[in-house]
Symmetry: D2
Subunit: 337 residues, 4 copies
């Protein structure tokens, strides 16, 4: 009575589940800790994150500005760094324990990839820095400083790290990161095999190639996404996403964007894949930013199957029929000539 | 650089976290599978769950009716069973794997409690049945049949088990169960030590006694709650809760309750503890049912501390100042004379 | 110190308003009473209105089915009538008083149009039936029977005509009607001059032709809309719209549509013109139905100016950038070969 | 076939309506223009209105600060004025035309009350100032200057006067004013008879006395409310209310209040009377401020009956069962020793 989760349709998966395939224990990587974003205009980019999204600056250091969402328990949710071109820098993944951190580092080394320890960020302990096969910088760490809000940002309830901001969208957390990669199957294989990510949904082209795959470290249905880079470039970003508490927050965000000149690329609408309610905008540095809301959807089944979407299914567009916008396939950062 | 998570206020927790205390690996118990509710009037109770909450009947068997929420991947979310008095019957907890199931059974046995295997429910494999120290029936299982929707309930998207119901509130899932118990510390100690539940929040009376404690098996902030039974009785229920997708669903539910005569006990409002947006109603059998919405709040930190609320803090009432209603301390099921 | 409201931009209208141009007193036509919809498949169409939109059947008579939204104080909000082809039949406008009714009939006669009295609908008194210049049937009436809900539909609050339905979208009212017309300026001139409609927004093509104009009888910003018929046909319908209480109702409606196979044409999104949050679907008979939500927007200024949108402005698409869907310019009912 | 609207229950009003009682034509008073609020701490009060509610300062003059909600087409929505004690000052009502203004002034004079012309406010023409029988200052005016937003507040859509604020609650408009009065029947009789207000709902005590009455000048279900002053004092304020676009705005407001220390008196909840979704807070000067949302409810029937609530009905509390808070009957401004 053993069942193997197979790609398919939840409604056609009828089976007695006994045992799930061996994989790294859920939770060696607890969650995405924070991400680093490059921008040629850091002042404008920081103003976007504070004024429009409602993040709080929690320190500056040379070309780096550290920003937090209000529900983050750590020092920072993103790092905005001056660079000639926009794009994604380091993605820091927090391990669940020191032992979990060691296990994951060993797994990466066993896969033949190198890494090195750095201590270059405030509020967190040493980070072990490596890259995925596509060249995106990944850092693993465990030690962290719990955030203590100053008086002016103290929340009304003790089970909340920081007051909810009264300005801007007021996003709750950094939700997920969507990379572009030359070889999606290879790069997602790496994060699945060495970091214990679980794939939950994917697009398989008619020819068999995996065009996109969604992975999770948590019971959210995805944390780290890889989409095929149409240019064949490496290490690029499709978008960075922040979760709002409600869909109404996203509708309000669209109005604020309209009235303040923030560029809306597409949305609000609902993704068919992962069912996320979304809005895509560009920050002043050119990076694509998603505001997303998953409602209360969680992936709690231990053997949650990998759902595969075909080319034909993708042609139906988003959940409610919106066609995927062309720039979704032409805009990534850094731009490619 | 080792830190022990201590009860306290998130805003005053400033520390470098290195290692977290040893505990059963996250995830031996994957999530609450389903719960059994007793009612003297099963037809009315089932009509409440289908007509008002929007659950679907998925089988009947003698005195038992099996009902599902639309996002459940298993056979049933609750079992409604005819009994002279209302109350809670079996709570079934799904283990993450066969090995995880064995580990948890052994842990319960090591704690000196007995159990036995039964095969008496459709859609799931064998269940190992025991009780918590207060007498609530607990069942551990792993094998399960994934639900396949019949054509008339097929969803529009393949990553969803069943169409969203067009009638009633349309709750997404069985969210949590709140027991009454004579000794909260003892009972929660049991589920923490033997089942790997993690306590996230608690109320400690001035005299030191734990009046309530919230435990989670998942990254939701709670799944299983114990509140002190003011009557000293054993095995009783405070409430069963279902999660909605939005707070608007709960406001709409309150209007539907008003227009159809469903008794509203209190709410809609927001809990200070766990910050859940709530509405409490009674089903026709007398059991208290909560509709709850946590927004997108999750507990992702591996060392999430146990937050302790004092008597003084509790006297402030709910998050926005509503005083806790008196019947919250006098109504449980089965009723006590 | 007299100011004439001029077409323009609210933000560039800076003037001292002393007197507004003479027009029929606000309120001779109180509001749209109901509308008649033709369909070749009345059973399916009625099932759509009851099951999906949550209307209630309030009588049948031969080929006619009378349906109500829950907040309508009159006998019916729409009449569904069997006909070989879909389309719009009678639009009934309720006059504020007997005198107001007489004034409006006289104004229509003064404009050279004929009409006749009929008594062919349940729940309302005599209707004076005429047509607009494009051939859409209009009926003026005043006498009406206030609706009394039967016990099973009785509301929980005495200031509400009927319980809110627990199934379907639960639209509050028939909100507006959007006709197609060969000559928008002529037809809207008629309803403005003879019926006292006030134009609030319009599209003026570069060549000067009015492509669409929005009129109101109330303090809602529009009740009756005329859009140019690209086929030159007469008497056709673009869409019929129902108001929901919240935008969340519309998002939920989109999910219900997705899961039950209701065709979504476009949306949810927000119109630039009138700022309405919208979702367009087709009912089984082929007529386009809008679900709309205006938030709390009202037109209270007595001299609210007529806002004019240019072709260039229209090319920007909807409020948040969605391009207007092609079928908006090709689908009307009855269809034209 | 003549029907007289009678106090009662909408669901028991079954009649053929032919003619409605004679009353001043709907619309001589177009809407409430603005209100003046007294406060002993104008800086804190203004900070509350700008920071928490999201109003914009549009001028200062001595002890007066003029503030606007984003959807107001006039110069200001409220005037905050320094005074030793909190309370309500002038309520300005905009007449629909010069003729309408003259008619209403004559009606007040015919009722034996005096008034005088003043020109003491920016952005509006002459105001004719009088009082209601309880002593609340009322001002009638017609001339007004349409607001033109400066570049930094320019909206994204031309049919909107000002950009939606990105901070605070972002209330759309001043919605209604609730006075306290020694004799509710007398004061409401005055605004009904001389100003053409229409009563829509009322509370009648068992002894026959009217304890509260809701009046409207518009198709909103109320604009001006009188509640009996338990102290017998005159000219006092119960609360001033601002409309939000959504109920979610009010839930968000409650969280912002919680995190910033704004005092919440009661709510969020739903009124039985008028069905408004509400939140009551106190501004720093001591005046009670309501945030309200009526969904899309409008009173469009020309003969909308006056709904009467009995003492027994009132004892049921608010719509979803919340008991009316005690301070609702003890807190008014200015305070009475």
């Amino acid at each position: 009575m053993t069942a193997t989760p197979v790609p398919g349709n939840l409604t056609t998966l009828k089976r007695m589940v006994a045992d799930t395939p061996t994989r790294p224990p859920l939770g060696d990587i607890a969650h995405i800790g924070h991400a680093q974003l490059f921008t040629p205009c850091p002042e404008d980019t920081v103003a976007f994150f504070t004024g429009f999204l409602g993040l709080t600056v929690n320190g500056r250091d040379g070309d780096h500005t550290y920003l937090r969402t209000w529900d983050d328990y750590e020092h920072h949710s993103i790092v905005v760094t001056r660079r000639d071109e926009p794009g994604i820098g380091r993605t820091a993944l927090r391990a669940s324990s020191s032992e979990a951190l060691e296990r994951r580092i060993q797994a990466v080394r066993d896969a033949g990839l190198a890494g090195e320890w750095v201590e270059d960020e405030p509020g967190v302990g040493p980070l072990w820095v490596t890259t995925d096969p596509d060249g995106h910088e990944l850092a693993l760490y465990h030690e962290t400083t719990w955030y203590e809000a100053p008086a002016e940002l103290a929340p009304g309830l003790k089970n909340q790290p920081q007051a909810k901001p009264g300005h801007g969208v007021g996003v709750r957390r950094l939700d997920h990161i969507n990379y572009l990669a030359a070889d999606v199957a290879e790069s997602t294989g790496f994060v699945i095999d060495t970091l214990g990510a679980r794939p939950t949904e994917q697009i398989r082209l008619d020819g068999g190639r995996i065009a996109a795959r969604w992975q999770t470290f948590t019971q959210k249905s995805y944390d780290l996404v890889y989409t095929e880079d149409w240019t064949g470039s490496r290490g690029r970003l499709h978008h960075l996403a922040f979760a709002t508490d409600t869909r109404e927050d996203i509708l309000r965000a669209a109005d604020l964007a309209l009235d303040t000149g923030v560029f809306i690329e597409t949305g609000p609408h609902k993704h068919a894949i992962q069912q996320t309610f979304f809005l895509y905008v560009y920050e002043p540095g050119g990076n694509r930013i998603e505001l997303c809301n998953p409602l209360t959807r969680l992936v709690l089944a231990p053997e949650w199957p990998l759902i595969t979407w075909t080319e034909t299914e993708r042609k139906k567009g988003q959940a409610w029929g919106l066609q995927t916008i062309e720039s979704f396939h032409t805009h990534g950062t850094p731009p490619v000539g």
